[in-house]
């Protein structure tokens, strides 16, 4: 019997092919996400993720396409427990298009696209690339600090993951040359070089962001969803990039009040709309708590623009007053299913001030452009460059 077979157990610890190709795949996933950020960031699964660490995002471009039959129309075989009859329902598709992770997914009916798991951190990094609070100015009250890690030093001891291959090999070369056997061979512990980092702090002027949201009855579920998507990412952005930035949340219908973050994102209200109320409240806060001499002030207001027409005049006046104090005032209008001819946006056309930015959002995909309109520093020279977040200064 012997001889017809062999049993063995090898050391497979260096076999990493699967992992390596998985990395290739992950890289492609990342690229795909980057290309479709506009689509992805307004996905409900993210906005409603409740601080979950890992989110699933649908990626359509990473399917392996080939000529294949239309599985939806096709008849498939199955086997029951006995006595199956024509018309028996053997299952249903809870939400068409949600990929099931069963065996051979992709071949199962109803699977339309591939879903990738991304960590919130990774996604934020991609979304906020090049984002910054525009036009930050030096103020008296400095505490806004951003912290960064910089690899500046090379040492002989360090973490294995931070090994500096090039310098290590150079050391080997040098030592071997000294010893009279030139070439790269025989790495000794003494040759190893490690990259070492330092944490650097950057002190910056304080900033406050005033988030204003219309919660009146005319804001339907869609409008609220869009506005909250925007603010969700805004808050995420501020918290990732800046350590000490104040955010105040104001909700309004005909009257405005300051609410907690939780209430801001969950509470629904009803009633009419008087936007001037929230501007008044914002101005009051600026006066009482955030002196423009100490703070960089940013104000963002989202509404459907369905304001009491008699109130528009007053709004213009108040916004102009705010512009006097703020680095930037952003106004976002969500165009719902009904189209209003005279909206607040139309009224605001008369305001001519580079600090005033308006955006219109028609659908989910508009959230990302809105974020970019407000937070990507497209301004030309003349703004305070030294105040930009740290990572941009490294190159200079």
């Amino acid at each position: 019997m012997k001889g017809s077979y062999i049993v063995s157990r090898e050391d497979w610890s260096l076999h990493r092919k699967g992992e390596l190709d998985q990395q290739r795949h992950r890289k492609k996933v990342k690229e795909a996400i980057k290309k479709n950020l506009g689509d992805i960031i307004a996905e409900e699964s993210i906005i409603m993720s409740d601080g979950k660490k890992v989110i699933r995002v649908p990626i359509r471009s990473l399917e392996e396409y080939r000529f294949r039959h239309n599985f939806r129309n096709q008849k498939h075989g199955g086997s029951g427990k006995g006595g199956s009859k024509v018309g028996d329902v053997i299952g249903s598709d809870p939400s068409s298009g949600k990929a099931s992770k069963g065996k051979g997914a992709g071949e199962e009916p109803g699977v339309d696209y591939y879903e990738a798991d991304v960590s919130m951190e990774e996604l934020s990094e991609m979304v906020f690339e090049n984002f910054k609070l525009p036009d930050l100015k030096e103020k008296q009250n400095k505490k806004l600090a951003s912290e960064a890690i910089e690899f500046r030093d090379i040492r002989k001891k360090g973490l294995q993951g931070n090994i500096d291959r090039k310098r290590t090999l150079l050391e080997v070369l040098k030592r071997n040359a000294r010893e009279g056997h030139p070439g790269v061979h025989g790495i000794k512990p003494d040759d190893l070089r490690y990259k070492t980092w330092e944490t650097s702090f950057k002190y910056e002027s304080a900033a406050v962001v005033i988030a204003m949201l219309d919660t009146s009855g005319s804001m339907g579920p869609f409008e609220k969803y869009i506005a909250r998507s925007f603010f969700f990412w805004m808050v995420q952005f501020l918290r990732t990039k800046y350590q000490h930035v104040n955010i105040v949340f104001l909700a309004h219908h005909t009257e405005a009040k300051e609410v907690t973050e939780d209430e801001f994102f969950t509470k629904g209200e009803s009633g009419g709309t008087r936007c001037s109320s929230v501007y008044e409240l914002a101005l009051k806060l600026i006066e009482e708590r955030f002196n423009p001499n100490d703070y960089n002030i940013y104000a963002f207001h989202f509404t459907d623009g369905d304001n009491l027409s008699s109130d528009n005049e007053r709004c213009i006046k108040l916004v102009n007053k705010m512009l006097g104090h703020c680095n930037m005032v952003g106004y976002g209008e969500i165009e719902g299913p009904y189209y209003y001819t005279s909206t607040l946006k139309t009224a605001f056309r008369t305001i001519e001030n580079p600090k005033f930015t308006t955006v219109t959002i028609r659908d989910k995909n508009g959230v990302y452009p809105a974020l970019r309109a407000f937070f990507s520093d497209k301004r030309e020279d003349g703004t305070v460059r030294m105040m930009q977040p740290l990572e941009d200064n490294v190159e200079e």
Partner: protein
């Protein structure tokens, strides 16, 4: 050598002895115990050594996650090669390993003796790993992005080979070159000493009509031979992927039989082993898990083993009618199943041996999506059988033929889907065309049917157009 391996060897001695006693005929075996990551890597690639591509990484991640979440488990992986490599999951219990080894021996017997495997390259392991190294050198030479892009394109059409390439075409018959029929089957004999280009004797000159002469099923070969602007490394990639498909095709073609055969034998071999009570229970559980039927798909292990058992039963104890009409004396069960494993593939297996009784016993049905529900559409045994066969035909891959490699005299590629009631997935079609274009380098067209109307999809390098013809 560890004691664990020694124990394993002892069981293998026994299993091999029993298997040979049953008449199983397999290649020399190489068993390798390896950790989960490795088995799952092999599972994703289909082979221990294969070229690098992100889609394998994706597949690996998917499989591995199911393992990590305890959703599924690959107990073994077996390679069609001589000697035959079998990888056992480190962490299998001894009973699990015994069953797996019995299972694997039967797979190997199938690889060795089934006619559809006869032309497979038994040294594929080596060929693939050599090709993988070559592909890697292309990456270094031409850039990873470039190689990947081309691999993406070729993999999109990889399944379009002609698995029956070994069956030689008959010499062109007389009636094919012109429409006139011969009066008798022997008429062509009179023309044997005439000029070769046409043998019908009607002065017909329509011998060389087009390019290709006849619609060609082997799209991969056609691209390999006739795509104009390919570099040598690109042709190599097409050629390697085509060879790999020829290697995998018989496995795709005999999934039900192969798993059925292996399951049939692991039960019988395990019955001959001395198992204590706990072991017997563990084995029974595992076996039940493997052959568990599914309401939404056909479990090949389940259908396969049931069919082999049914064939054995029917040839052992034929009915009076079968005795008389088919001259079956009875007691030929074993002989018959060995014959079936030698000559059939899934399509012929189902066509010949899926009986009315079986369809009823196994409660097989066809279902389809109606609204949001999956509903049973038929339980009629012939329709069920034919439906299953339909899905297995050409391994479920749509039949795409190269009609014209010089369409419109502009060197464009015209493909035609042989529509037989199953429509193509349009989303996939529209995404695959650009891949074909990448290889062909000129506009490409696919003719198919939507809503029973012929329609032509074209891609000119910039956009897809669709028109009804």
């Amino acid at each position: 050598m560890s004691s664990e391996i020694k124990v394993l060897e002892k069981s293998i001695d026994k299993i091999v002895e029993i298997a040979k006693g049953f008449g199983l005929d397999f290649y020399p075996m190489r068993f390798e115990v390896c950790p989960a990551e490795i088995i799952y890597t092999f599972g994703a690639y289909g082979m221990p050594a294969r070229f690098t591509h992100w889609s394998f990484g994706k597949q690996y991640h998917r499989l591995k996650m199911q393992y990590d979440f305890n959703l599924s488990r690959i107990y073994e992986m077996v390679i069609n090669s001589n000697p035959c490599y079998a990888f056992l999951l480190d962490g299998n219990s001894l009973v699990q390993n015994k069953m797996v080894i019995a299972h694997v021996l039967a797979h190997c017997d199938f690889f060795k003796n089934n006619a559809w495997f006869r032309n497979t390259n038994r040294d594929m392991l080596e060929s693939m790993s050599v090709a993988a190294e070559r592909f890697h050198s292309y990456e270094l030479q031409y850039g990873r992005g470039k190689v990947e892009q081309f691999l993406d394109a070729v993999m999109a059409v990889q399944q379009h080979i002609d698995p029956h390439y070994t069956i030689k075409e008959p010499k062109q018959k007389a009636k094919e070159c012109c429409s006139k029929k011969q009066a008798t089957p022997y008429d062509d004999l009179w023309n044997l000493d005439k000029k070769q280009d046409c043998s019908c004797g009607n002065g017909c000159t329509s011998n060389n009509h087009g390019f290709p002469e006849k619609p060609q099923k082997d799209l991969m070969l056609f691209l390999l031979k006739h795509a104009k602007d390919l570099e040598e490394w690109q042709r190599d990639i097409i050629s390697v992927l085509r060879d790999e498909m020829f290697y995998f095709w018989p496995q795709m073609q005999t999934k039900i039989m192969n798993e059925g055969w292996a399951s049939y034998w692991h039960v019988r071999i395990m019955r001959e082993m001395d198992l204590d009570e706990n072991e017997a229970l563990e084995f029974a559980k595992m076996h039940a898990g493997v052959i568990q039927p599914s309401t939404k798909s056909i479990n090949p292990y389940y259908l396969g083993i049931k069919m082999f058992e049914d064939i054995e039963k029917r040839w052992d104890n034929p009915s009076e009618e079968e005795k008389k009409e088919f001259h079956r004396p009875g007691g030929e069960g074993k002989e018959k199943i060995f014959e079936v494993r030698s000559i059939d593939n899934d399509v012929s297996f189902l066509r010949n041996y899926l009986t009315e009784d079986l369809v009823e016993d196994l409660d097989l049905y066809l279902f389809r999506k109606v609204g949001h529900d999956y509903k049973v559409t038929t339980i009629d045994w012939e329709k069920v059988r034919d439906g299953l066969i339909n899905n297995l035909t050409n391994c479920g891959v749509p039949n795409i033929l190269v009609e014209n490699g010089d369409y419109g005299k502009r060197g464009e590629l015209y493909l035609k889907h042989s529509y037989e009631g199953m429509e193509l997935d349009v989303v996939h079609l529209e995404k695959t065309l650009p891949h074909v274009h990448t290889i062909w380098g000129r506009p490409v067209h696919v003719e198919t049917n939507l809503d029973e109307k012929p329609v032509l999809f074209s891609y000119n390098g910039e956009r897809i157009t669709k028109k009804f013809i």
